[in-house]
């Protein structure tokens, strides 16, 4: 180079990249996309609407008491969870596959070149927001169902910790199934493909395994169905009723709520770790 004059060297100033900053960034992204609000609005309407419908149309004569009454009360709140899970799954896929689809991911990973914090922050923001919205919609459903059921003589015992645990289980199921879908979106990176796989896993797989399992009488296949996210979620959100002593097929698992929760967490851990490894390895 021919320059002999000393060139000034620019020294940048400013604050460092921080995880808190990445979380703030993901929160801005999350709330500035319309699909977020559409999905959450649908979740609230579905949850409250189904609860209202079930509580209003249920005929309880004579009104059950004890465990079965509590179980019914829980169902009146969490009845829509299967559909809620689909909505949350779609949102979980969209917030990550939407970045791949539009190319936004390259801006994200340029700002956060270590990558892992970006995916963690995104999952965190999504999980917390989904938790809050699920709590709000179940909260409204509780108020609606308790009043309506009470009018029919079915009194919900709100001092029963199992009642709250079961509903909390429903909330956690929505968050965890959302994270499963989010991880699938991060692995597959394509919206259509990710939605198909996520809904296949949550919706279609249990039906298929169930039918085939029952027809073939294969115990392992029926057990396999029990560790799918949707079945584990049902277990997690169920009000534990003492078994009536009905005979069960030998070797068939009974999934307790806590076990259902652990199974879901395992799904999330495996898929999310895979997503992180692939995110670090692949070109953006």
């Amino acid at each position: 180079m021919s320059t002999s004059t000393p060139t000034p060297v620019f020294t940048p100033t400013g604050r460092d990249l921080s995880f808190g900053g990445v979380v703030a960034s993901e929160w801005i992204k999350f709330r500035s996309i319309r699909s977020t609000w559409w999905c959450f609005a649908i979740l609230v309407v579905l949850t409250v609407g189904f609860s209202l419908l079930l509580s209003a149309s249920l005929s309880v004569d004579p009104a059950p008491t004890g465990d079965s009454a509590q179980s019914l009360s829980v169902q009146a709140v969490t009845i829509s969870t299967t559909f809620g899970a689909l909505v949350v799954s779609v949102l979980g896929v969209l917030i990550i596959s939407g970045e791949y689809g539009t190319g936004m991911i390259r801006s994200t990973l340029t700002a956060v070149p270590k990558r892992t914090p970006a995916l963690l922050a995104k999952a965190l923001v999504f999980a917390i927001a989904t938790f809050v919205v699920a709590v709000i919609s179940f909260g409204i459903s509780i108020a609606v169902s308790v009043v309506l059921l009470s009018g029919k003589g079915l009194e919900t015992d709100l001092a029963d910790p199992q009642y709250w645990l079961a509903i909390l289980g429903g909330v956690c199921y929505l968050v965890l199934v959302g994270l499963i879908a989010f991880s699938l979106g991060a692995i597959i990176r394509n919206t259509a493909g990710s939605v198909a796989v996520a809904l296949g896993l949550v919706l279609a797989a249990p039906i298929v395994l169930n039918i085939v399992g029952v027809l073939t009488q294969l115990v392992w296949m029926q057990n396999l169905e029990k560790i799918l996210p949707s079945s584990a979620g049902s277990a997690l959100a169920a009000y534990p009723v003492e078994s009536s002593g009905a005979p069960t097929t030998e070797g068939l698992w009974t999934i307790e709520p806590w076990a259902g929760g652990l199974i879901l967490v395992a799904w999330v851990v495996v898929l999310f770790s895979t997503a992180i490894v692939l995110l670090k390895r692949r070109d953006a």
Partner: protein, 312 residues
């Protein structure tokens, strides 16, 4: 300062970037030239860690980009104006990226003003024209007031006013001691913007030299010299390795030498010049010449002065 060492990227059997070494210095505008598929974008993506090199390494100010504590203050990159979620407004897009480094809304509005996006800042990016998208990409690159700017085709889609602004602006940024590395297909644009040019052809560096040397060395890049002392000047130039042809009684067409050097030779010999015009034509010519015959330049002579000497 950007330094690449044996940087290589292969996609399956195809080698996009083939063992290249180069240095981009602060205080200068360095142009990155090459036909489509030459590996320019891939190289730029590797600099900011979007693509992982198959081999070799590239550092920005002494470290791999990802190792910096404040990446956005080190490098501002415009690699792809479409790297934006189409459903989000421009301002929210900027706010989100700024938040990672706790850059405030004040700076976001500053870059919006700087790039002329005020009127569309709150509109969703999906409806942006190519030029608006490009301005937004520039705004993102400027967010961190970075020491290094990496701009892939920054004037793509801009109106003439925007092109002039970018040209002026990158020169200003380099003047502040920043490193500016930009690619362009508008090669004449490069001649006016860049101090130094790195030409890439089929994944290899075919030239790495100051812009005037690139221009002068391309065949067809001749110098028109009008002098009453043709007979005296001609042999002097030829003794420097140039070839001079008289095209008129007082006119020489000289190749293989820069106009600057012709002037110096004439001055030291006391030859009067009426006219001294570098007929470099366009950088396109130089560039076509370079990429057509890449072998000649494809040595490891990326150190700037020697390339020019070796080809004389």
């Amino acid at each position: 300062m950007i330094e690449a060492h044996s940087l290589t990227k292969r996609y399956g059997a195809k080698t996009a970037v083939d063992t290249i070494d180069f240095t981009v210095r602060p205080g200068h505008v360095t142009g990155f030239l090459g036909p489509n598929g030459a590996g320019k974008s891939t190289t730029m993506r590797m600099i900011v860690g979007l693509d992982r090199p198959t081999n070799g390494s590239v550092t920005v100010n002494g470290k791999p980009y990802a190792e910096h504590r404040a990446p956005l203050h080190q490098v501002g990159a415009l690699l792809d104006a479409k790297a934006v979620h189409t459903g989000r407004s421009a301002r929210n897009h900027l706010l989100a990226i700024a938040a990672t480094h706790r850059i405030g809304a004040k700076r976001v509005d500053e870059v919006i003003g700087l790039t002329g996006l005020e009127s569309v800042a709150r509109k969703r990016v999906g409806g942006f024209s190519l030029g608006m998208g490009q301005r937004l990409g520039l705004a993102v690159a400027l967010l961190g007031d970075p020491a290094t700017l990496i701009l892939d085709e920054p004037v793509n889609g801009l109106d003439p006013e925007g092109v002039a602004w970018v040209r002026q602006f990158v020169r200003h940024l380099a003047g502040e001691g920043r490193t500016v590395f930009l690619s362009s297909h508008l090669m004449s644009e490069m001649a006016q913007t860049a101090d130094h040019i790195i030409v890439l052809g089929r994944g290899r560096i075919v030239a790495d030299a100051p812009v005037n040397e690139i221009l002068a060395n391309a065949s067809g890049g001749s110098v028109k010299v009008r002098t009453p002392q043709i007979a005296q000047l001609g042999p002097l130039l030829e003794s420097e390795g140039a070839s001079a042809t008289a095209t008129a009684p007082d006119l020489l067409s000289v190749t293989g030498i820069v106009a600057q050097r012709v002037g110096e030779i004439a001055a030291s010999a006391g030859v009067v010049l009426y006219e001294l015009t570098p007929l470099t034509g366009s950088l396109e010519d130089a560039y076509m010449e370079l990429t057509r015959d890449s072998i000649e330049y494809a040595t490891a002579d990326y150190d700037t002065p020697t390339t020019a000497e070796a080809t004389r």
